[in-house]
Amino acid sequence: MSDFQKRHNISLYVENKPGVTIRIALVFARRGYNIESFVGSPAQDSRYSRINIEATGDSQTLHLMLEQLNRLVDVIHAREYSDEDVIQKELALIKVRCDNNSRTEILQISDAFKCRNVDISDTTMTFQVTGKSSKIDAVSKMLDKYGVLEVVRTGKLLIARGEEETSW
């Protein structure tokens, strides 16, 4: 993989205010970074939000971008977690086409990946799957030949192991 396509995981702790997302997105856009996934929700202290961003771009720009993110008045903290051992989870809903012949096979595959069946109809089944992003990639790849109608993913969630916090 060439360096400019490298994926970076960035964790932010920000003020829970209107406009914060745009200011953050502008920093990425200005240096040509593409945001692959973006997860944001209020933190325990609801005056603040946590944001996890996965973005592709060259590593050299990353340092500059992190400083530019940290310079934003509403950003309390921006950090990269790409190469560190952090807990990473994602949730996806996968809707796959099925008929009487394929249903059992599909259920076997979903079972192997510990997917939860959340909806079933005559022609479709919908699964909820959680885990590392690579696991979700693998499930959708396995189900692909039956006809995947829709995949909705949350994007990466990050949390540090042990006592360390991903904020402050």
Partner: protein, 571 residues
Amino acid sequence: MNKKQCTAATKLIEILKKQGVECIFGLPGGSAIPLYDALALSDMKLVLTRHEQGATHMADGYARSSGKPGVVLVTSGPGATNTLTGVMTAMMDSVPIVVLCGQQLTSNLGLDTFQEADVSGMSYPIVKHSFLVKDPNELPSVINQAFHIANTGRPGPVIVDLPKDVTSALIDEDTTGEFTLPGYVVRKEGNLDSIKEAAAMISKAEKPILMVGHGAVISGAGQEIKAIVEKMQIPVTNTLLGKGCFPESHELNLGMPGMHGTAYANMALCECDLLVSIGARWDDRIAGSPSDFLPQAKKIHIDIDPVEINKTVQVDCSIIGDAKSVLNSLYGYLEKGNTQRWIKLIRRLKREYPLKYKKEGKLRAQHVIEEMSRLTKGEAIVTTDVGQHQMWAAQFFKTEHTRHFLSSGGAGTMGFGFPAAIGAQLANPGRIVVAVVGDGGFQMTLPELSTAVNEKLPIKILLINNRYLGMVRQWQHMFYDNRLSGVDLEGNPDFVKLAGAYGCKGFRVKRSADVRKVLGAALAYNDGPCIIDAEVEKYDNVFPMVPSGAGLDKMLLSMPRNKLEKPKGGT
């Protein structure tokens, strides 16, 4: 019993006074009427401008020359968008201005109502921060935050969008203006290990140079720089915005480096073994080719903004902190080295490669500017526009004091110089203020002549009139086979008559022999602004010149005979 109440607008003016604001630059409109009403009920001075861009440049000139934030008050929609050029100009050069914009009713936001524009949204890439106030009770706190953010750390512009219902609302008179900003940290003192490392590098260097930028001016580090220069015997080069922080008449001053810098500054930079940037950001006017910028020299970077470290030029040692505080601490660790041979070389370069121009024949811009510099003896506050005259002013207006040379460096905003001079004169009533402008840029903001006349400001507008957009003409001449395109300013007004129409004084100078006499007369005129229309040689080019994107060793001292390649750099 009910508490005493007042409108949020009244409270706002009260807070501005507490912040030390002496005057406001602006132009009203529908959404700003409650704010202007509160102004009418107060004794705050309003400087009514003719255009909102002018107001922002005035606030900018006020701030650059005084160190205090400049305040702008405009209306919503076009009033606010007209300020954006001035806001961007202030952002690029780290100038503290607070722009208060009227706004439609909160219930009308996003509905395309009359004169409604998402001003805070538009402002994000060009402000240090911006606010949209939706709760009148929060207004006092937001205004205090705006001033705190604008004028601390690396200063910059802050926009506050103020909906009409918010400014009209009644709030308790004692509504608190307290705030916390957990995401905003200002690092003042540098890391001690880095300071010691830098001190060792400077003490060891045989051919060091200090490069003084706007950061040094903003932090007021002039004394500290002088102390280091004199103890260590290190020559100093100052960027366009660093002019005056260290006196340009000092024998160790090299003037400005870079694209149109002095030959001796650029030659010395190509020879040095250590370059110490004090609040300068390796702008592309200096480091045209950042990846191979002065490879022979080690580099130290002192800057308050961590974003600037290794942004373009990679440095060997960095200190994040306020220049004054860092230099103060650095001084104690410096051990005097031996720079005698280096100083000898510097003296020789200054002697052999002086700035020059032809004084005989047609009137030269350089001559007019140099004479004005001589007559004002380094005591004038000089503002410039953008273009050839700006570079000639940088070269020939010797600046002795900090905050005495105001120019749009990063943004290169034409139309900046004259309104900035108005702001500077209001902040410095007793001083001579000279606006060196070109005939192109001046016409972009010249309606502010009314403002200057109304305020009876004795600004000397030194109009370098070559009837061209000269800098672009120079590039077309040098790099585009002299195919002139869109640069001829045919149809310029008669500027002396124009001065008369606005009720201000006009002078004209056409011949070299008259320069001293005319400038003397203009300096003696103090009843209001005057325009000195200097009709100069049309085809002069600014030299030295380092083509954009090239290394400093590619400097041209005059127009070469052979055809030049198009420059690699952007502009």
